[in-house]
Amino acid sequence: MNANRLLLSIVVLSVVANGYDFLVHNVLLKATYQAHQDLLNVPQRLGLLIFADIVWVILFCWFYAAFARGRGFRLSTGLWFGFFVGLIAGWMPQVYSRLVLAGFPIAFYISWGVSNLVRSLLLGAVIGRLYHER
């Protein structure tokens, strides 16, 4: 494992992930959240959300560095990794929420499922470009 590259990837991906989440959740989905305010915690704990994003990124990068070597550290590997992680850890949990929670709106299911998958693909592309063991 290349510790310097891993650290660089964690820093860059943390910035990208938080920027993406700000754009999606504070701009694009603002109207959706306003329409379903009764379901949400108010006020949002922004600091903890940023911290959770950073922990997510650390796990994602560590996971990639530990397992992607067999396919070669390159853009396509990062994209495939991001795609599968996005489906498993981003989309599938929203399917469960939609299936079992009575008040879970379809707008949350679609927007969170899609935005999680796109975020994971984006982060996969970035780590695919950034991380290598040379």
């Binding site: 915690n41 396919r71 498993i88 850890a89 599938m92 949990p93």
Partner: protein, 132 residues
Amino acid sequence: MNWKKWIVAFIVAAILVQVYDFVVFAKLTRDVERRSGLAFRPDISQWKVIFTSVVATLLFMLTYALFGKSRGYRLGTGLLFGVLMGFIPWIGNVYNRLLLANFTPSLYLAWAAGSWGSYVLTGIVSGLMYKE
């Protein structure tokens, strides 16, 4: 990729995960769900839940077959894969805890730990059964 080994491992994992999900989510965490303020659907389609779980297992095992090679397909690899993969949706439950009203700490813990255990179990089965 060794499809024959993969299909056998997938079937075994899918069955074990169903048993695990039944014990953990239908029995052990039921009271926690009832005590939370979240409303659950009265008409939960068990077949849809089972199908979703099977799809999640399929995706996990496909990812393991594609990415596990570099560390060698063995128990330790499957276990590490399951532990790491399981922690990523754990953070998803942290988001739910932070964002959703009535997503109580006990429900958060039950769902996060319960789903993490499911991924670890799938990782163990993958590590034991899948080889190239």
